[in-house]
Structure formats: C-alpha cells, structure tokens
C-alpha cells in the first residue's frame, strides 16, 4: 500500500506539506496522488472516530442485526441490500457467508428506536426471512483504534 494511504489512514489531518517532507517528495506530487485516490474512490471520505459513550448529551445505541434474506432473480443479494442500506439508520451493511446473509449495523437514539426500525422497516420487507438483533453493549476497538485512554508504561525521558 502506498505510504500516503498508510499515513492518512492513521491520521487524515496530516498536511500535504508535512507528508511531502516525510516522503521526500514534492508537495505537488503528493497533492496530485491524494486527488487521484479521491477521484478513484480509494479514499472515500475523511472523518473523526468518536467515542460517543463519553458524550453527555447525545447518547445513542447500536445494534448488529443478522438478516436472512431470499436472493432475487437476476439481482442476487444486491437489490435487497440496497433496499436496506439506503435507510439512514443503517451505518454499515455487509454480505456475509454463514448462517445468515446480511450483517446490518443500525444506530438509533434508544432501544425503542432501533426495535421500531426492525419491526416496522426491516422485517416487513418481503425478501427478509428473519432477523436476530444484537444490541451493542460496549465498544472496545473501532477501525483499529482502541477506545480507551492510553495507559501503560512510560519510557524514561533520556537514555543512551
């Protein structure tokens, strides 16, 4: 993987100027490369990873929902997946192998909002044969980031 992507994946706020220094490349070249990743869709967007459990005001609940569906003629799973992922409540949607077909991550204000979504929007879809909802109790790690204040040993400040 290009080092530019490695840098951005870890910290999207590193400036083009600093990246150019780190990689020993002209700024224009770095800029151009990033632009091309953006236009190709390799870089989809830049966003912050939040630990919402620390927010006082806006708490939300997440649920992982296993969805069993019957694939449709000619469209396979894609059509039904699209039906589902277009709901704004759906954060992530994956087609998976195994005992069920789609893994859908839904975010809502509270338990009721999520269960209403499942009962009123998801389950009634004719292609949906069944759902199992897992409410998420605690996030330990998201997108490679451990959601915990750093602790552990500190290096001493000076050694040979």
């Amino acid at each position: 993987m290009d080092e530019i992507l490695e840098i951005l994946e870890k910290d999207a706020r590193v400036s083009v100027k600093d990246m150019a220094k780190m990689l020993n490349k002209p700024e224009e070249e770095v800029e151009k490369t990033i632009k091309s990743y953006e236009s190709k869709g390799v870089i989809v967007k830049y966003k912050a990873v939040l630990n919402k459990s620390l927010l006082e005001d806006r708490k939300s609940v997440l649920a992982l929902i296993e969805v069993k569906v019957s694939p449709q003629k000619d469209a396979g799973f894609d059509a039904i997946a699209e039906r589902i992922y277009k709901f704004e409540e759906v954060k992530d949607c994956y087609l998976v192998s195994g005992a069920y077909d789609l893994l859908v991550v839904v975010e809502g204000r509270d338990l009721n909002t999520v269960s209403d979504f499942v009962a009123e929007k998801l389950s009634p879809l004719s292609a949906v044969k069944g759902t199992i909802t897992h409410f998420l109790l605690k996030k330990y790690k998201e997108d490679g980031v451990v959601l915990k204040r750093k602790s552990g040993a500190k290096r001493i400040n000076i050694t040979y």
């Binding site: 590193v14 600093d18 780190m22 990689l23 001493i156 400040n157 000076i158 040979y160």
Partner: protein, 383 residues
C-alpha cells in the same frame, strides 16, 4: 571503597544532565535510545502464554535450541549467512551482554581495541573493564562520519587485537554499503584483527540493503556478529540478543556467560522466537521511522542545525556550531530549561563531539513536529 577503574568511568557532566531531564515534567524527549513503539502484541502475548504454561526455569547456557535454530534460519534467509545453531550461536542478555562477552573473551590485559567514534557509550567502558585499551578512530562531520581508511590503516600499525564496528550507527545513523564495507574489510583483513560488529539496527537501514559484516568474503571466521531484538522489534525491556561467531569464540563467550549470567531470561527467549516468525510489524515500524527521518532531517537542516542524513537507526547527529554555545552540554541544558525539549549532548559519544547533539526520532510524529518548532524558536533566540 570503589575501584579506580569504576571511579574513572562515565563523563560526569552528562550524568548530571540526565538527572535534570529525569526530574523535569512535561518534557518532549528526543533523548531516548529506544523505540517509542511497544513490542507488538503477538510478542507480548507469547510471553504471557509462556508464563501461563509455567516456563519459569533456566535454559541451557547457550539459550533455547529452538531460538538458536530460528536465529540461524533467519540469518540464512535474510542475509545468506550460515551459522550452526549448535556451536556458532549464543543467546545473550541483549547486545550489551554480547558485546561484553565478546570483548572479555578475546582481550588480554593491555590489548588494544579500535573504537570508531562517535560511538555507543558502552564500548569504551566495556573495553576498559576487560583490561583492554581503546584506540579511538574519530570520524568527522565533513567526511559524513564515515571511517577514513588511511587513518584506520595508521591505527592498525599499533597492532590492535580487535575493532568494534557499529552500523547503522548510534549516534550518527551512518551505515555502509556492501562496497564500502568491502573496502574496510580489505584494510582490516590484512591486519588480522577480529571484528566485533554491533548490528543491532540492521533492520533499520533506510537507503540501501543492510550487509552484515560476516557476509563479506572470508570475513565470517574473523567476525563476532552481534544482533538483537531491542530496536528492530521494540523489545528493549526483554533483554535478549544473539552473538554469532566462530565455534571457538562462541565457546569462550559461553564459558564466561555460564559463570556470570547462566542464560538469558526464558520468557524473553520464547518471545524472541515469536518475534522472528513474522516481519509485518517490523516493516511497518521501518516505514514509520523512515518518514520521521525525512521529516526531522529536513526540519533540522532548515533550522540551521546541519545534519547529515542518517542512513539507518533512529538518530540525527546535528551540528550546533552555528548556535553560539560553549558546548553541546550547555546547549542541551538551555534547550531543556527554555523549551522543555531533551536531546543528548554529543560529548557523551566522544570528547571531540562537543559541538553536536543527538536527536532521536523514535518519537511520535506530532511530538517531533512540536519539538522542531520549539527548537526553531530556541535557535532563533540565540542568533
């Protein structure tokens, strides 16, 4: 009460400075000679399992055969080196101990050993404690801190028993290409000296492939090759490394080892086996260090602290000649008090290097950036 030898060791001014740094809070430290990464989880997890499984005993003096076999095949695969696990490899308590054993195994009282400066601080002390005498080969900034062959040749006339090499080098980051090493070996082989080669930073060679000294034609029999886990795998606290050499030398080193140390810690040895089994994390750290290197060298040079590009390791050895300080110790103290940035005075690495400081880039890039801006402010205030 204390022996003369010990009393005379270590430059005292530097010790004082270190104590100052250790007492101060909120310092951005570029004074550290170890990775800022923690050892990869797979390695730590292995150590935990090892404890759970009850591996709390001694191992054989030479170290776990399993680890020696892994070291042997690692060196074979990576560098084409052939060391026999049964007789030519010793597992040590870090390269530190490997170095001490190597020197003690070969030095008779009064024997001379060439040390290339600026150098890692333990070399002169280890030679001294073993009853040897150091011959210093001081490299120069205007020669990019590389070994000058004609000065090497003239030192060899004093019939030294051995030379200690270190590349990539702490504190300069200097390393040598295969061709440069061949030139050095040509001079050394004629003199018949033993080469103790500290290659602890071997996997942090940024600009060209690393060539181990024993990989040079006919050099293996004359070389004590020292390698370790501290830097490459961010395992400084595990205290484990390896020495590879001719059977006779390894036997002699093992003899001392069996009396003074018995063996390296068993948990660390298992962790080292795990370390060698995968290079993904090493490769990641390598790229990160290289990016930091580029960033910091550019920064320092633009601040008028001339810095040659370190080809390996994670240090810049920067000249402070333009900043109007009596010595690098004064510079480091003032920088610490005014801007809370710690660097190591160059005089720690040889008395001729009072106009340099060692700046470690084994630090988070965000902190490096902040430190550079503080150093910039500091340097400008002195102009």
């Amino acid at each position: 009460m204390i022996s003369e030898k010990v009393k005379n060791m270590a430059p005292s001014g530097i010790r004082e400075f270190f104590d100052l740094v250790l007492e101060m809070k909120d310092v951005i430290s570029l004074g550290v000679g170890e990775p800022d990464f923690v050892a990869p989880w797979r390695i730590r997890e292995k150590a935990i399992t090892c404890l759970e499984d009850g591996f709390t005993s001694y191992t054989s003096n030479r170290g776990l055969l399993r680890l020696r076999m892994e070291v042997s095949s690692f060196l074979k695969k990576k560098y084409g080196l052939n060391y026999r696990p049964e007789s030519e490899i010793l597992i040590t308590v870090g390269v530190s101990q490997g170095l001490d054993l190597a020197v003690r195994a070969i030095v008779n009282p009064g024997d001379k050993i060439i040390i290339v400066r600026p150098c890692y601080v333990s070399y002169p002390a280890v030679v001294e404690l073993a009853g040897g005498k150091s011959l210093f080969l001081d490299t120069k900034a205007e020669e990019n801190f590389k070994i000058n062959l004609s000065r090497l040749s003239s030192l060899l006339k004093q019939k030294p028993k051995a030379i200690i090499l270190n590349y990539p080098c702490n504190p300069t980051g200097v390393s040598y290409t295969k061709r440069e090493l061949a030139e050095i070996w040509k001079v050394l082989s004629r003199a018949g000296v033993i080469v103790i080669s500290d290659e602890i930073y071997d996997q942090l060679s940024f600009d060209f492939p690393h060539t181990p000294f024993p990989a040079l034609p006919l050099a293996k029999g004359k070389t004590v090759y020292l390698g370790g886990f501290s830097k490459n795998y961010a395992m400084t606290g595990f205290r484990v490394g390896y020495a590879c050499a001719d059977k006779k030398i390894i036997e002699a080193m093992t003899k001392i080892h069996s009396y003074v140390m018995l063996c390296a810690p068993i948990i660390s040895q298992f962790a080292a086996v795990e370390a060698l089994s995968n290079s993904r994390d090493v490769n990641y750290m390598f790229r990160e260090y290289r990016r930091r290197r580029n960033f910091v060298v550019e920064g320092l040079n633009s601040l008028n602290l001339p810095t040659i590009v370190p080809q390996g390791a994670f240090y810049c050895f920067s000249s402070i000649a333009g900043a109007r300080f009596k010595s690098s110790l004064e510079f480091a103290k003032a920088l610490l008090f005014k801007e809370k940035v710690a660097v190591v005075p160059g005089s720690a690495f040889g008395d001729k290097y009072g106009k340099f400081v060692r700046i470690s880039f084994a630090q988070d890039i965000g902190l490096l950036k902040e430190a550079l801006s503080r150093i910039g402010r500091f340097v400008r205030s002195r102009l």
